[in-house]
């Protein structure tokens, strides 16, 4: 199998990568990290990106999420050719189309759970009242409606990650990207977060791309993509 999947090279693809390359430069020395990646992910897909440390998983995720730019190739995500967007447009695009979930939650420590979740909405024309309703709605979805006024340090790791998930979905993005979302969680909390993500995929139709080392986490996905030394190794469909 090559990098192209299940005939998903069609108009339905939410992520289309064409010959993507990424290199870093140390002075004049080029360090290629990703090479010639061609790849589509269909809308509503749930993909796990796996591979050894240093294989370029985070780098690829950052390109897809509009955090970083490729040194070659083109990528269309959520209907936009990202190479065509300038920095400001890319920021607005991230706000509207991508939800981020990080290994260390990345909540703003001085803001309450409510305020953290509200952040992405501050960039929308929503009124204060609309924001409040929406934030309460998603916090209820992650079962934290009674923790709204708590600061991150007053929450457990699992609760923090659920706040982060609420923040990722509050703007109703099409795509969720997660880099080791369970990496800092114990077994039970990890399970809870994974179930939540599965529900976001099945019930709300979010496309999810998750980078993980954890076989359990990878097992929740419907496809596993293996990356090795910057090229696609194989893609495996998860059997249930």
């Amino acid at each position: 199998m090559n990098g192209t999947l299940n005939g998903s090279m069609n108009g339905d693809a939410i992520i289309k990568l064409r010959n993507i390359a990424k290199s870093y430069w140390r002075e004049t020395l080029e360090i290629p990290v990703l090479q010639g990646i061609d790849f589509d992910i269909p809308k509503g897909g749930y993909y796990a990106l796996m591979g050894p440390s240093g294989s370029g998983k985070t780098t690829l995720l950052n390109l897809i999420a509009g955090i970083d730019r490729p040194t070659g190739g083109s990528l269309e995500v959520c209907g936009y050719e990202l190479n065509d967007l300038d920095d400001d447009e890319l920021a607005a695009w991230r706000n509207a189309h991508v939800g981020f979930i990080f290994q260390n939650y990345n909540l703003i420590p001085v803001l309450t759970a409510f305020e953290n979740v509200e952040l992405p909405l501050l960039l929308t024309p929503m009124s204060r009242r609309e924001r409040r309703e929406r934030v309460e709605e998603v916090l209820a979805l992650v079962n934290l409606e009674d923790r709204m006024l708590n600061y991150p340090r007053q929450l457990s790791g699992g609760q923090e990650q659920r706040v982060a998930i609420a923040r990722a979905i509050v703007g109703d993005p099409d795509l969720l990207v997660a880099d080791e979302p369970t990496g800092a969680l114990d077994h039970q909390n990890a399970e809870e977060v994974l179930n939540l993500m599965a529900r976001l995929n099945t019930d709300m139709g979010k496309t999810i791309l998750v980078v993980t080392h954890d076989p359990k986490a990878a097992h929740h996905a419907r496809f596993q993509i293996h990356l090795d030394k910057g090229v696609f190794d194989k893609t495996v469909e998860v059997n249930r």
């Binding site: 920095d87 991230r94 981020f100 990080f102 703003i108 001085v110 305020e115």
Partner: protein, 408 residues
């Protein structure tokens, strides 16, 4: 000048943009306030430094203001001081009896029930000891009773005015605070005579708050002077001054010069310049230090919050919103210090002090008056410090490459 104007335009434009940025797509200011609160030690020490500088800034401003009040409120536009040509200051001038007699009957001089409003006066310098033990020159003015009435800002607060021929003096209330042995009925030794303090007056912040007053003839006798130092003459209106001056100039018998009392004291205001310049210099040096302190604190804060910045950017906040947010944080930090500093300056309010006039080499006393306007100026000054000191750290925060910021 053009460069300065250009700079002002850029500055105001930036300020307007910042304000707009805070309203349009705000990273809430509460985020900045709480971030400051989270770094209490750095915040308090930086704000403390700013407070100190702002406090000093306000006190220096009030000093300049106090000094100019001492002189400007001393003079009236409808009164003329007549001195010997080119004398410039009363101490250098001398006028004889004949000249005084001519001036007293001058047709342009105003009159009241008691006669022409003209006071022939003599000024001498006497060394007195201040409360802190240091010797300083004090102006002693001998004047006619009319001279008292011609200074309406001067009010008797205790005792009575001096009477001619009895070696009596009246002293300013403010001087009592700074010199020993000037209480009512105490004896002062001047010109080999004993003088009794029979009254205390308030000069209303004018330079007369720095003078001891007595009868002109008594002073002349004690100091063996035949002549006077100056003649103060009231005119009917300020507009008459020009004509009066011209006629004094023309009169060949007089060889005198007339200056308006107001102009005379405005000239004296310049005696405050050296301390004012020194004060400004000290403030400038401290300000540069405080700006660097604020800059340093903000740099530390930015590098400690790289990941936070990355997260905000990932969520969709643009570089300019990061710039504005950190810029506001720095302004808040310095503004906090500024408010504290403005109130610190209040401790100086009402303090009486003095300085040596560099023109007359005698003591000038004045009060620090901390007005709300001065305090506001101090706070505004702190906001500018925050703007300047915070710019580079905020700029750096907004320039961190996103992929790097995400790594923390």
């Amino acid at each position: 000048m053009i460069i300065l104007g250009l700079f002002g335009v850029v500055f105001l434009g930036y300020l307007a943009w910042l304000t707009w940025a805070a309203i349009a797509y705000p990273i809430p200011l509460s985020y900045n306030l709480r971030s400051l609160w989270q770094r209490k030690v750095a915040t308090v020490s930086t704000a403390g430094a700013i407070a100190l500088v702002v406090g000093i800034f306000v006190v220096v401003l009030s000093l300049a203001q106090g000094l100019s009040k001492a002189f400007v409120s001393s003079g009236r536009a409808d009164q003329a001081i007549v001195m010997r040509s080119n004398a410039q200051f009363e101490l250098n001038s001398s006028i004889d009896r004949g000249q005084v007699r001519i001036l007293k009957v001058h047709p342009l001089v105003a009159k009241d029930a008691t006669g022409p409003l003209v006071s022939a006066e003599v000024v001498v310098i006497k060394i007195f000891q201040k409360s802190d033990g240091a010797d300083t020159n004090v102006t002693v003015r001998g004047l006619e009773p009319t001279g008292i009435r011609m200074r309406s800002q001067v009010k008797l607060t205790q005792g009575r005015w001096f009477r001619p021929g009895l070696s009596e003096v009246v002293v300013p209330r403010k001087m009592q605070l700074r010199f020993t042995g000037m209480e009512l009925s105490r004896i002062l030794k001047m010109g080999g005579r004993d003088w009794e303090v029979v009254g205390v007056f308030d000069g209303g912040g004018s330079s007369f708050d720095s003078e001891i007053w007595s009868d002109v003839v008594d002073i002349q006798q004690a100091y063996k002077r035949e002549s006077f130092s100056s003649v103060l003459a009231r005119l009917d209106t300020p507009e008459r001054f020009k004509a009066f001056k011209a006629s004094v100039d023309e009169d060949k018998r007089l060889k005198l010069d007339a200056v308006s009392e107001k102009a005379y004291f405005t000239e004296l205001t310049k005696s405050g310049d050296p301390i004012r310049i020194l004060g400004n210099l000290i403030t400038l040096i401290l300000t540069v230090g405080a700006i660097f302190a604020a800059m340093n604190t903000m740099y530390a804060s930015v590098s400690g919050r790289t990941k936070e910045i990355g997260t905000l950017r990932a969520i969709g906040f643009r570089r300019r919103e990061i710039l504005a947010s950190f810029q506001w944080e720095s302004i808040l930090l310095c503004g906090l210090g500024g408010i504290v500093g403005a109130f610190l300056a209040l401790f100086a309010n009402g303090i009486q002090t003095g300085t040596t006039s560099f023109q007359t080499f005698s003591d000038v006393s004045f009060a620090f008056t901390i007005t709300p306007v001065l305090m506001l100026e101090g706070v505004a000054f702190s906001l500018v410090m925050g703007l300047v000191g915070g710019f580079f750290p905020a700029w750096r925060a907004s320039r961190i490459p996103l992929a790097e910021a995400m790594k923390g």
